[in-house]
Each structure stands twice: as C-alpha cells, then as structure tokens.
C-alpha cells in the first residue's frame, strides 16, 4: 500500500517534470534560437542584421500598408457578418456558419489560386466575361486575397463573443424606443469594441506574416514576409531571415498581451449570463450590414465554385468542357503526400490534445506555480508567424544532441507544439466546468492525484479533448508556414506540394489538390461536429 503510493507519487512528479521539459525544449528553446541567430555574430551581440529595415525601408512600408488595409477591410466584413446573427433565422445561421467553416478548412493560398483563375491575364471574369487584359498582380490583389482568407476566422471569433452578449440590454433599449441603428451604434458596437480590436490585431499580424499571397500574386510587390521566406529558400541567409522574423514577431507580442487580457475579461463577463436570443427590426444600418455580409458570402462562394469547377473542367479552343484528366494528372502528387499529411496531422493532433490536458491539469487544477509559467510558455506559439516557429526549429535542432533536421519527427513535433495553445484553450474551457467538489470528494475517498487525472479529469474533459483533436487535425492539414523549412524535399506534405504547383502555374492540378484537402477537412469537422452534438445531447 505504502510502496504503491510512493510509486504513484514518483510517477506524478516525473510526469510533471517531463511535461515542463518538453515545453522548455520544444517551445522556449526554438524561440531563443531565433533571437540568437539574429543578434549573435561571431560570438558578440549586434543589431547589424536589422539594417535592412533602413536600407530596404520599402519592405516594411509595403508590409505595414497592405496589412493595415487587409486588417481594416476584413474586420469590417467580420463585424457585418457577425452582427447579422441578430437578424437571421436559425437556418440561415447554420448556413452562415457552414460558409465560414469552408474557409477555415481550406489551405491558405486557395484565395490566390482562384484569384489568378478569375482575375488573371486569362482570368475567367476579366478575360472571358469582361474581355479585359489587366495586370492583376500587386498590392490590391494581395489585400483582397488576404481579406477573403482571414475574415472567416475573425467573424467566428466575434460571433462567439456576441453569443455571450446579454440580450436583455437589446430588449431594454428597444423598450425605451431605440431603433436598430441606435442599438447597434450605442450599445452593441461599444460593448464588442475589445473583440473588434482583437480581430483587427489578429488580422494585422496574420497579414504581416503571410508570405504565400504576396509570393503568388504580389508580382513586384514585395513584403517583409516574402523577403524572409526568400532569404532562406533562395539565398540561404539565415541570420537575415531570423532578423526579419523577429521584426514580424514583435507586433504579435503586443497582440498576445492584449488578447490574453480581453480573453480573461470575456470569460469573466460571460459566466453568469442567461442567453436571450434577441432580435432587432430590419431597418437602418441593417441594410448596410446585409449588403456587406451578402457581398462577402457571394465572393466566397464564387471562389469555391471556381476551385471546384477548375478541378473538373478544362478549356480548349475557347470552349469549357467536363473532364477527369485533371484528377488523373494529380494522382502522382497526391499519393504519398496525402498519406503523410493525414498521418502526421493525426499524430500531431492526438499528442497535442493530450499534452494540453496534462499541462492544464497541473497548472490549473493542481495549481503548481511553475506550471503556470510553463503554461504561459506553451501558449507563446499561438500568434507568432508560422515561419518564425519553423525557423526556430531549424536553428534549435540542427546539431547534436538534438539533431532532428530532415526527420519526420521534427515536422510532427513542430505540428504538436504549434497546435498546443489552441488545444490548451479548448481543453481548459471544458475542464473549467468540472466542479471542485467533485474532485474534492474523490480525494476524500482516497483517490491519488493520478487517479483523479485518469478517472475524473480525463473523462470529464472528453468533449474538449475531442474538439481540440479535430481542430488540431484540420489546422495541421492546412498549415504551411511553420513546416515549409522543415520538410525534407522528397517527403513533402500535401499543402507544400500544392504550394509548389501553384507557384509553377499548374492551376488545374492545384485545384484538384485543394478540393481534396477541403473535402477531407470538411468531412472530418462535420462528422466530429455530429458526434460531438450526439455526445452532448445524450448526456444532458
């Protein structure tokens, strides 16, 4: 009995320490590695690598300008989409959520791909319909593609925020005589300002870090992100790439702090609210919102229509016809890369949700102080540009004792720890619903802490784990930035193969690959949503 207990205690301790070790090695160390690479030259500190900011100021300017535009426009669309939930029926809401989900499960450069096909020199809309031959490459192309790609995620974020909104306020305002426009301007917008700010900032850093859109459709329009990418890929200049990554990383720290602050506030605010689904009259500003939201959704649907039809059609002598040739052509690109992608993503998602559970357990149920620090570190990859995290892995793990470059392991580890912050959030939400009394009574009955983890915390967080797993899988399937430098050329993943295809102008085959990725991820999330709903219903 006593010996058994001691063994449990040792295991408990070892698990804790191992957890901390993993986070320090696979999150903190890569971060430090990037800093060192950028700042350390021949053994001494210096900022000479940062001279590019002055010498090539246009890069910074381009990045700031296009990111500001993208962030503003996509935030406006996201606000319109989310506010529409006050006016639409349940059915329409499901449709909206489905359309937003579509972008979340798409590879990131699908926007660029369709942009070229629709608006390019031989674009379907510009050439075939309008008969124009314009140069589509440049900043506005980048901004429009980024807007289309980023809006959905922020709209989802705002909708979640609005769902915790006390509807009584809206009814109170109406009962005092406020019309729709006044309610929106006086009550709703001021109250969701923090969420709007967060949306704007998230979009801003995503746009700053995005190198794929400017690479594909920027033309002569270069940004910091493209320069960082090219520094490694084309010039092999890693100190310069690190310095650029650091510059891109700094704004994300600010965002991270603001985000964490409001995230906590929002959780507090929404704790005791009874959801009143309140509606407003369709008048005034509603029409502006409806126009913007409608425009966005139409644009998005056209994009998906374009990808799907490009995958199964071809044009010959001005005629468009149905064909399976594209799919046949795509076969050699799909075979290995998809199996690898799915395998890596499954492992990554599984491990990362389990790690999130163990970490949250020690940090927030057992309340170990140092585990809270570990939790903070584990959350750092949340908003850093993917390329930053990828570079960190190269610099950290290219020499003994941890020489991992070129292996599959380094890719999987990167996926795991890149995904960990999202998993932690999801798991913690469901873990927060376990009542303290439940655990206290288990302790009372003599259960060891490890058994509490296994018998109580694990099963009671199951829904959160499940969700974390699904989300982890989808975002690993669609990620590009963090793994692009890590993957061994002959062992590419699906998204990277796709990126190469788009870059080399094989748009038809690229469309086929895109469709496959979308279908896999969409299928996964719909199935898991159904399972999740089932589980919830049967329990309550």
């Amino acid at each position: 009995m006593d010996g058994g207990r001691r063994l449990l205690n040792v295991t408990d301790r070892a698990l804790r320490i191992f957890m901390a070790f993993l986070v320090l090695v696979f999150v903190l160390y890569p971060f430090i590695a990037v800093f060192l690479k950028a700042l350390l030259k021949e053994g001494s500190f210096g900022f000479s690598e940062f001279l590019f900011i002055k010498e090539e100021l246009y890069l910074l300017k381009n990045s700031l300008k296009s990111s500001f535009l993208t962030a503003s426009i996509s935030t406006i669309f996201a606000i319109s989409l989310s506010l529409m939930t006050f006016f639409i029926s349940k059915r329409q809401r499901s449709f909206l959520m489905f359309v937003l989900l579509l972008t979340m499960v798409s590879p990131p450069f699908i926007g660029s791909l369709t942009y070229i096909q629709l608006f390019g020199r031989n674009g379907f809309i510009t050439k075939t319909i309008l008969g124009l031959s314009i140069n589509p490459y440049g900043m506005w192309g980048v901004v429009s593609v980024q807007t289309l790609g980023f809006t959905s995620a922020t709209a989802m974020l705002l909708i979640t925020y609005l769902d915790s909104f006390d509807g009584t306020m809206i009814e109170a305002a109406r009962s005092l005589g406020a019309k729709t426009s006044s309610i929106l301007v006086d009550i709703v917008l001021p109250l969701i300002r923090p969420a709007i700010l967060v949306s704007f900032l998230l979009n801003f850093i995503r746009a700053m870090a995005d190198f794929t859109s400017p690479m594909i459709i920027g033309g002569a329009f270069n940004t910091l992100a493209t320069e960082g990418y090219l520094s490694i890929i084309a010039k092999g200049n890693s100190p310069r790439a690190s310095a650029i990554s650091l510059v891109l990383f700094l704004p994300s720290i600010v965002v991270f702090i603001i985000y964490s602050y409001y995230y906590k506030q929002q959780q507090r605010a929404s704790k005791n609210l009874r959801r009143v689904s309140s509606r407003m009259e369709k008048s005034g500003l509603y029409y502006v919102l409806a126009f913007l939201a409608g425009f966005f959704i139409l644009w998005l649907l056209i994009q998906y229509l374009a990808v799907f039809s490009a995958a199964i059609t071809d044009r010959y002598q001005g005629k468009t016809f149905f064909t399976l040739q594209n799919i046949k052509d795509a076969r050699p690109h799909i075979r290995d890369s998809f199996v690898r992608s799915i395998g890596y993503s499954l492992i990554g998602a599984l491990v990362s949700s389990l790690l999130a559970l163990v970490l949250s357990y020690y940090a927030f149920i057992r309340n170990f102080k140092y585990m809270k620090v570990i939790d903070f570190i584990a959350n750092m990859p949340y908003i850093v540009p993917g390329t930053f995290f990828g570079l960190g892995y190269i610099f950290a793990f290219n020499k003994e004792p941890l020489k991992l470059t070129g292996t599959a392991l380094i890719v999987i580890l990167n996926l795991i720890f890149r995904q960990l912050p999202m998993s932690i959030r999801t798991v913690q939400t469901s873990m927060g619903q376990i009542e303290e009394e439940t655990m206290a009574s288990a302790k009372d009955l003599g259960a060891h802490n490890l058994y509490i983890l296994k018998d109580l915390v694990f099963p009671l967080s199951a829904s959160g784990l499940f969700l974390a797993f699904t989300n982890g899988f989808i975002s690993s399937m669609t990620t590009v930035g963090s793994i692009i430098f890590l993957v061994y050329p002959s062992r590419k993943l699906a998204t990277l193969v796709l990126f190469d295809l788009v870059n080399s102008g094989k748009y038809k085959v690229a469309s086929v690959l895109s469709v496959f990725i979308i279908l896999i991820c969409l299928g996964t999330s719909l199935v898991s949503y159904a399972v999740y709903r089932r589980g919830h219903v049967s329990r309550s």
């Binding site: 006390d166 009584t168 005092l176 019309k179 006086d186 009550i187 009259e281």
Partner: protein
C-alpha cells in the same frame, strides 16, 4: 380602461405558453401576475412589450391597438429581471438613454435625468458606472430609465428577485410611491406571493398559460376560483367537504374532540398539527402555549370552492 388585452395566444410547438388570456387594467392600477415557474408570466409580459410575436389576440392601450407595433414603437417600457443596464454608460446616461428618441436636447435630457436621479434617491451616484452600484441601486436605475420615457404602461418582470428580503420591502414601498408620483399603470410579474399581496390592486393567477382568476388580494385568497388558486395561495387543509385555511381554525382551550400531535415554534406564531376523528389539520396560531398531547376543541368553518 387604459389597457385592454383580449384572447392572447402563443404556442411553442405543442406547448401553449399563453392560452386565451384576457384582462383589463385601469389607469394607475398595479396588476400582479402570479403563478408557478413556466406558467407563461414572462411570455405574457414580453408579448405586451413586443418581444414575443403573438399567434393571435389584441392589445389596446388608450383605445389604440398596439399588437402590430414593434417593441420600440409601443407606449410601453419594461424593467427586466436582470435589468439589462448598459455597462459602458454612467448612471445618468443610462437613465436618459430613452430621451434620445424623443427629440430631447442633450442638456434638457440631463436636467430631466437629474430630476429622476433625485426622485429615486440616487444623488451622488449619477456619474458612476452602473457596474459600481449595489443591486438595489441598479434596480432603481432600471426603473428610472423606464419611467423617464413616460410610458403609459410599465412592465416589470420579477424586478425584486435579485434583492434580499429587506430591500424588497423598501422597493415595494418605492414602487407605490412612484405610482403615485407618475400616475403610471403597471403589470408586475412575480412568483413571490408577498410582492403581490403588498402592492397589487388586482392579482392575476396563471397556470399552464391560462388565466385562472383575477381579482383583489382578498378576493383571490378568500374566494379562490379553482383548486389551483386555492393551493397556490397559502396553505390549506382539504377534506371531502371542502377546505379550511390553517389560520382560520381556532384551538379552544379546555374543549374536546381533538388532540395536538405536533408543534413547531415559528417565531411570532406557532404551527400545530391537530387530529380529530375526521382527520388531521395544520393550524396556525399566535398562541404558543398548547402542548403536544393536549386535548382541545376545534372551531372552523369549512368552505367550498
């Protein structure tokens, strides 16, 4: 009649939340709606306020039918159970919000608002955020915000349920005072009988979406129209012949025929269980010196519905 409500119906699927509800209210009248949880009180109030779309029925205020109007166009204001105060605005800005839609200049609105602040005893708090106020003060702000737009009808949904017993009592007095100052008509939803008995001119009893009885406090207590009303208001001893309220039975010292079998001391009164050859009764008495086992006589008048 200021308010005339006729044949309101509202169903959620198979569930009838409102079933042919009709009543009227005079100017300055306070009507309390009383009933168990889920009987449709909130639905009734929300349909008057314009937040629930009715299946059928008419609502007239001052001779004009309003059931087709949107919530913001009705001469009705609501005080919600969770208040729905605007957390990003000061107390004064909350109170004067409704004046914005009644063509007030900002300055005039603030003056009017300060009058309301004083009427409600909120001086000194007008520039605070509403989140810095106590529950009772928030309640007053919610009330002031609704009153300032001079609605013809004020609706209150369990407005005191977040307050403790003492505060409730003073808010009840406050509400009566406000009625006298503003001459306003109110429909007040509660499931606290004491609220209803202390301020209502008339009480509506609801069950399963139906209006079971409407009348003054004495009427509904002394002449319940149905078993539901009888059981819902206070305790009752039932027998084959009828019913008798526990406080309507008198224990006769030195009498015969009944025996005390239980006694609970409740402070200013005592509650006894008494048995005679016909059955057992709950009796409430201000006298606390009867003992268990003692033989007593019973005086009562059995009533029937």
């Amino acid at each position: 009649m200021l308010v005339e409500v006729k044949n309101l119906n509202k169903s959620y699927g198979d569930l009838k939340a409102l079933d042919q509800v009709s009543f009227e209210a005079e100017k300055q009248e306070i009507i309390c709606v009383l009933g168990p949880s889920g009987c449709g009180k909130t639905t009734l109030l929300q349909s008057l306020g314009g937040f629930v779309e009715l299946d059928s029925g008419t609502i007239m205020i001052d001779g004009k039918s309003i059931e087709k109007l949107a919530a913001e166009d009705r001469p009705v204001a609501t005080v919600f159970q969770s208040y729905g105060l605007f957390p990003h605005m000061s107390v004064l800005d909350n109170i004067i919000y409704g004046l914005k839609f009644r063509n007030y200049k900002k300055k005039a609105a603030r003056q009017e608002g300060m009058v309301m602040v004083r009427t409600l005893g909120l001086e000194g708090h007008e520039n605070k955020k509403v989140t810095q106020l106590s529950g009772g003060q928030q309640q007053r702000v919610a009330l002031g915000r609704a009153l300032i737009v001079r609605p013809k009808l004020l609706l209150l949904d369990e407005p005191f349920s977040n307050l403790d017993t003492r505060l409730r009592d003073s808010m009840r007095q406050e509400l009566l005072r406000i009625r006298d100052i503003f001459g306003i008509t109110m429909v007040f939803v509660t499931h606290d009988q004491e609220d209803a008995f202390s301020i209502a001119d008339r009480i509506i009893l609801m069950n399963h979406g139906r209006l079971e009885q409407i009348g003054g406090a004495r009427d509904v207590y002394d002449q319940p129209a149905s078993d539901f009303v009888l059981n819902f208001l206070g305790r009752t001893n039932l027998s084959d012949e009828g019913y008798v309220r526990p406080e309507a039975i008198r224990l006769v010292r030195g009498g015969r025929g009944a025996r005390i079998v239980g006694k609970v001391f409740k402070g200013f009164y005592s509650q006894y269980t008494v048995e005679d050859d016909k059955g057992s009764y709950q009796v409430i008495s201000l006298e606390d010196d009867f003992e268990v086992g003692q033989e007593v006589g019973l005086e009562m008048e059995i009533r029937s519905i």
